[in-house]
């Protein structure tokens, strides 16, 4: 008994050592640390948006017709749009929305993808074949095209756009999880768990998946920025968030007609998208190196 406790401690400390080493590698990557700082900044903006924004009510569509189409000035740091809403307030208020959209898409896609991939990899045989053929179908068409079709079918709106994007985003996670499960299921500890009578679900969720977590988390991080970009693209096309929602893509679409004479309407939401995506991409880049030392030697 005492011995097994000792062993368990050892295993735990080995896992911690791995994490600590990974953290060290991540920290020593200056670019990723810059990305992390940028993300912390974005999170703070999102949390304190109602305090930071001088006119938080503009996000809900308050109009100020007398002050329409004003260039950036003291009152309106980023200028105003066609009905006099403060662009700065709307960009700030849209930060939380963009983060939520990315989070929902990634979480939904991960849930679907990991489940399908784990079942396919673990079950093997015809179940594996069937699930992977379905995955292939989704991978035959670029994600954006299917996302447009699904979101259009479900109807315009930010919720439907998120559902549409998640429904085309999972195949990457399914493929990744399947390959991880395929190699993990041959490990002795899985055989041991099976030997003492653990059920399939328990083996998958308690024994196999916890060991596959890091690559999945890394893919979630590297995908986050692109999910935000895709949602913004749908908003830009007009399928995503509808007015007056302060969604950055929709705001760019809004400012398009006034570009470039009233350049500020579309420019600032675009820069906001860039900042968000760039920060996630920097972090993802560093995380990828932590996991796969081959990619950066």
């Amino acid at each position: 008994m005492a011995e097994s406790l000792e062993k368990r401690k050892e295993a735990r400390s080995a896992r911690w050592e791995n994490i600590a080493r990974g953290l060290y590698r991540f920290r020593s990557n200056r670019l990723s640390m810059i990305g992390l700082l940028m993300l912390v900044f974005i999170l703070l903006v999102a949390i304190f948006a109602p305090i930071i924004a001088p006119y938080p009510e503009d996000a809900a569509g308050k109009t100020r017709v007398a002050a329409r189409l004003q260039p950036p000035n003291e009152d309106f740091a980023f200028g105003t749009d066609k009905i006099g809403r403060d662009i700065f307030s709307r960009v700030v208020m849209g930060t939380g929305l963009a983060l939520q959209v990315g989070t929902v898409i990634i979480l939904l896609a991960t849930t679907i993808g990991v489940t399908i991939g784990a079942v396919a990899g673990y079950a093997g045989g015809w179940i594996d074949d069937l699930l992977m053929r379905v995955t292939d179908i989704f991978l035959t068409v670029p994600a954006l095209v299917l996302a447009i079709a699904i979101s259009a079918a479900l109807g315009k709106g930010i919720i439907n756009a998120m559902i549409g994007i998640s429904l085309v985003w999972w195949p990457g996670f399914a493929r990744l999880t399947r390959s991880l499960v395929l190699s993990l299921r041959e490990e002795p500890f899985v055989e041991a768990a099976y030997g003492i009578g653990a059920g399939h679900m328990r083996i998958i969720f308690r024994h196999i998946l916890p060991n596959a977590v890091s690559p999945i988390i890394i893919k979630m991080t590297t995908d986050f920025g692109f999910a935000v970009l895709t949602a913004a693209a749908l908003g830009f096309i007009g399928l995503g968030a509808q007015p007056p929602t302060p969604e950055w893509g929709a705001m760019i679409n809004d400012g398009r007609r006034y570009f470039p004479d009233e350049w500020w309407i579309a420019t600032f939401p675009g820069l906001a998208i860039w900042l968000m995506v760039f920060s996630w991409n920097l972090i993802g880049d560093g995380l990828r190196d932590v996991l796969d030392p081959r990619s950066r030697r």
């Binding site: 447009i148 079918a153 760039f278 030697r297």
Partner: protein, 337 residues
């Protein structure tokens, strides 16, 4: 394995996937909670008019029958018609598709021409300044929303500097070259019409450049990683030992080994950029599939959307098959494996 058999097998494997895709798009088109018929028939349409609409488009029949009708139509070249314009989808696709193909191909070429050398340089100067610069630049550009960057570039290069045209494939007064492929660059070259060639090249450049940024980062990254891996192979040390110049080793031996992984990524990017073109086309008024797709999706016009999805699926599959064939040529081990 005989190369012809290898190619045939690859093609045969694609067919079930494409049938699956047609079922998928068909299901998407039929789960519509919105009312496409109501939209198309207009707000004042009576129930009888809508009913007539449904009958005309075969929407009153059971779903499996509708699907079978759709599939037999697909093979006969009848891809349905638009609820709005009443034009046959297949004809529309034929008109718009070459513009998108030209734009996407140009973007992939630009991304390859910039990305592969950037990856090679990164690998040669691993973890030194040029490596870091290439890495930051590629992440920097891939993070922009392409449609936004397209607006900015359009303003800078076309409107302010006047270096390039604002949009479209050709000026209104220039008639396009007689269509052989529908790709203006190739058609004008074939007809030795150098002027039209240069004009359409100038129209193509900025949209293709903006589109290419989406692929630059992944191409650079994979080239760098596989170059680094190849550089550490024993044959490199051996070649250096017998005195082959470093440059020759890099370009003749290492790059060829590294290119196999790069080609996969380039072909994947072709599909992604073809989708990204949807956004770029709306900015530059580029008369391709993108504009067509956006209009159709905003008005719930499902025959065109299904047509586009299936066309994308077919093209993407063809690109994948071509990639595998190029593999087989570059690396005989795959062909015979």
């Amino acid at each position: 394995m005989n190369i012809r058999f290898y190619i045939l097998r690859r093609i045969a494997l694609v067919i079930p996937t494409l049938i699956g895709l047609s079922i998928l798009t068909f299901s998407i088109a039929r789960i519509v909670p919105g009312d496409p018929v109501g939209l198309a028939a207009g707000p004042r349409a009576t129930e009888e008019i809508k009913e007539a609409f449904r009958r005309e488009f075969g929407l009153d029949q059971p779903l499996p029958i509708q699907y079978i009708n759709y599939m037999t139509g697909l093979f006969r070249g009848d891809w349905g018609e638009s609820l709005y314009t009443r034009r046959a989808v297949i004809n529309d696709l034929r008109v718009y598709w070459p513009a998108t193909l030209e734009l996407t191909t140009a973007a992939v070429v630009i991304a390859t021409v910039l990305g592969v050398p950037a990856g090679v340089i990164s690998a040669m100067y691993r973890n030194r300044l040029p490596d870091h610069v290439a890495r930051v630049l590629s992440l920097f550009f891939v993070s922009f929303p392409s449609f936004w960057l397209a607006m900015i570039f359009q303003t800078w290069f076309a409107r302010d500097l006047g270096l390039f045209p604002i949009g479209k494939r050709l000026p209104v007064l220039v008639s396009p070259p007689a269509p052989t492929t529908g790709l203006f660059l190739i058609d004008s070259l074939v007809q030795l019409d150098l002027e039209t060639f240069l004009i359409s090249l100038r129209h193509l450049f900025i949209p293709a450049l903006v589109l290419s940024f989406g692929a630059f980062a992944s191409i650079t990254r994979i080239t760098r990683a596989s170059m680094v891996e190849a550089l550490e192979k024993d044959f490199v040390r051996m070649e250096r030992a017998i005195g082959i110049p470093y440059r020759v080793i890099i370009f003749k031996y290492v790059l060829r080994n590294a290119l196999i992984a790069t080609i996969t990524v380039i072909s994947l990017n072709f599909g992604w950029l073809m989708a990204g073109a949807i956004l770029i086309e709306t900015i530059f008024d580029w008369p391709g599939l993108g504009l067509y797709a956006v209009e159709a999706s905003l008005s719930l016009d499902f025959q065109p959307i299904m047509g586009i999805a299936i066309l994308y699926g077919v093209v993407f599959s063809v690109v994948n098959i071509l990639t595998d064939i190029v593999y087989g040529i570059l690396d005989p081990r795959i062909r015979y494996g």
